[in-house]
């Protein structure tokens, strides 16, 4: 157990809450109320409006977008209780956290754990201020689920590495400033030959090509490295430690894909309520199509028990001071159920629920179609459902390696 931090008194908390409220009153532009952080999503940035820039800079300067990160690197240096107060007050004011993206969700926590002092000083503050966008150089054409099969090679050239190879499914690669990548520094050992390094995307020899997805969007890229010089200072941890560091980062990624903090948003509108707008109803307002009604209830019950499971995992982790073993099922369950929900929405809306573009469809309808298509990726990326099943079977259930 970690040393217990002196519990904050009620007065301290009230004072901090007042400070957050004052900060919001002074800094949060009213026109942004109800917006979400466009820069945090994988669909790519929209150009920031002056108000959005102002808000990002105000939160970044305080380190409140990364409230529990150490103050010396630009974080808020706050307790979990204080971070929760920020969450609550921002939500009350309709304010989003403008600091996000892969730097916050995955790379930052990993660098704080494995980076050296100079690396933390160089990279963490710009993440806390939301100035630098990071992308993930992991998957390759022949290294998907079998990630350790990666072939991108970093050759030791004395004071630098010379990197050659290809990464794929680089989320946001076309907009990123920097890339955290796992590359091969030793061809003789599958796992121990992997190193974790940081690559500037504007280094000569880095080329990015967006991939158009079935949803019509291009959130992922192919990234080519041709004789790319990477300074030795950009190696995180030791040479050969990349697989360990890389897997640690994936734990942060999984926690984010399965929902984590955004359960309320995930909950969404009741499918029954949506169905009543598209389908005929009987005398008591019940859906006339009894089969569809049953399907919706069946789904919503399982959706509820998933949300309850996510809540339970959080409560158990908090009480035990470690990760609950049921956390391992959240990614698998959450992604499958989200896909099911999208399919059910189409059944509810009929062809009106399959619009590609045009005035005959509402934004909500069109958005749902793209989300349905893009959602197929969620059971593939971040460790496919099959990989999650392997992890559960081996690590949680103690079943033997099948290989």
């Amino acid at each position: 157990m970690a040393t217990q931090i002196e519990p904050a008194t009620q007065t301290d908390e009230d004072a901090f809450r007042a400070e957050v409220q004052q900060f919001l009153a002074d800094n949060f532009p009213a026109e942004l109320k109800g917006q979400s952080n466009a820069l945090a999503g994988v669909d790519g940035p929209t150009n920031e409006t002056p108000a959005q820039t102002e808000w990002r800079e105000a939160v970044g300067a305080r380190g409140w977008g990364t409230p529990t990160w150490p103050k010396e690197y630009g974080g808020g240096g706050l307790t979990k209780a204080q971070a929760k107060i920020i969450d609550q007050e921002f939500a009350k004011a309709g304010a989003y956290n403008p600091i996000g993206g892969m730097g916050v969700m995955m790379f930052g926590p990993t660098l704080l754990e494995y980076g050296n002092e100079a690396q933390k000083k160089e990279h963490i503050p710009s993440i806390c201020r939301g100035e630098i966008r990071w992308c993930q150089g992991y998957s390759e054409p022949n290294a998907g689920s079998d990630l350790a099969n990666l072939q991108t090679f970093a050759e030791d050239k004395g004071d630098h590495y010379l990197v050659n190879g290809q990464k794929t499914w680089t989320s946001g690669g076309q907009w990123a400033d920097k890339c955290f990548a796992i590359v091969r520094t030793d061809k003789s050992d599958k796992h121990k030959g992997i190193s974790f390094m940081l690559i500037d995307m504007d280094t000569p020899g880095v080329e990015v090509r967006p991939i158009t997805m079935i949803s019509g969007t291009s959130p992922f890229c192919e990234t080519f490295f041709t004789d790319v010089k990477v300074p030795k200072d950009n190696l995180v941890g030791e040479e050969g430690q990349g697989w360990t560091i890389g897997k640690r980062l994936l734990q942060h990624e999984r926690a984010n894909i399965s929902g984590g903090g955004s359960l309320a948003r995930l909950m969404g509108q009741s499918l029954g309520d949506i169905a009543k707008k598209y389908q005929s109803t009987g005398a008591d307002g019940e859906l006339a199509d009894a089969v569809l009604r049953d399907k919706i209830a069946d789904f919503e019950i399982r959706w509820n028990s998933f949300l309850l499971t996510a809540r339970r995992a959080m409560e158990e982790s908090k009480a035990a001071g470690g990760v609950s073993e049921i956390s391992s099922v959240l990614k698998k369950l959450g992604t499958k159920l989200s896909q099911e929900r999208s399919e059910l929405l189409i059944e509810i809306r009929g062809l009106q629920g399959l619009g590609w573009e045009g005035d005959g469809f509402s934004d909500g309808e069109l958005g749902a179609v793209r989300a349905w298509l893009f959602g197929k990726a969620t059971t593939i990326y971040g460790g496919s459902t099959e990989i999650q099943n392997n992890i559960i079977a081996k690590r949680v259930l103690g079943m033997l390696d099948h290989q």
Partner: protein, 356 residues
Amino acid sequence: MAVLNEEQEMLRDMAREWTVNESPVTEFRKVRASGEPEAFNRDAYATMAQMGWAGVIIPEEHGGSDFGFLSAGLVVEELGKTLTASPLVMNTVAASAIVLGGSDEQKARWLPRLASGEAIATLAVDEGPSHDPAKIETSVSDGKLSGTKAFVHEAHGADLFVVAAKDGLYLVEKGDGVALTTRKLTDQRSHADVTFDGAAAEKLANGGDSLLDDVLDRARVLTAAEMLGMAQQVFDDTLDYLKQRVQFNQVLASFQALQHRMADLFADLAQMRSAVEAGLQAVDAGFGVARAATIAKAEANRVMHTMANEGIQLHGGIGMTDEYDVGFYLKRARVLEQSFGSSSWLKDRFSKLSGY
């Protein structure tokens, strides 16, 4: 597992220790072999009551501990793991009817006896083979209750019936005007059609219009808790078996086709536990009970159904034998699945509660 307080942890540990040591499945086999229609061991039930388990939801002033439904669920879950045959669930549900709807006099007369195990009560609602509390013909005139209740759980051991009539719930003591017809079901437990022919009845006059629904929701969450224990046990037994059984010179646990099925069941079980615990907690909080209880029983039905089937299949041929326990869980599972709300009935109720 929900985060428990100290009392709850002690209660659960005590229940776990007792069931494992004193009431393993071999005890259920003895009950079955005895052929007694009441189908439980009176001495074992007396011990359970002495440990305070019959009074977990009964107020302290009436001889209980008032620990609440989450606590009662912990005990019931452990009993479910070893298929311990007892009227504890039904007695708890019937007691809750008196707690919610009884007069001071009715509470004082019955609750201490139900808490101590001196008397046993059960609930009689349905009049056909499928749960349907909207279809009740039983009626009362001049304090005399008449009607027939179908498949009443633990009817043989009960001294007192909490009976649903058209206009509310009534207390009827076993005796004149009460006749039982044993209905042997696949789980080998106590079930009977109970005919009331002008039996003396006392109304549970408090508790308002929702009393029957409130009591049934308590039956749903406790039944779901029993199913949770059963599902957990089938999962654990199956996992153990897969780790031991060798075919093709490998333990079955090393086959990926089986690993992924176990991962699916593990995820199902996690959802079931979350739903059941949330249902029990909702009863204790007195908030959102109807919805939470519906979700709890619906998830218990869904997961227990699959778990029992997969348990048999993954055990292979020996899973089909009477010598192995897994078949007992399947047979009890289906009886509980059809009690207090089948899956289709629960989904209909969920839709209504959600306004569609």
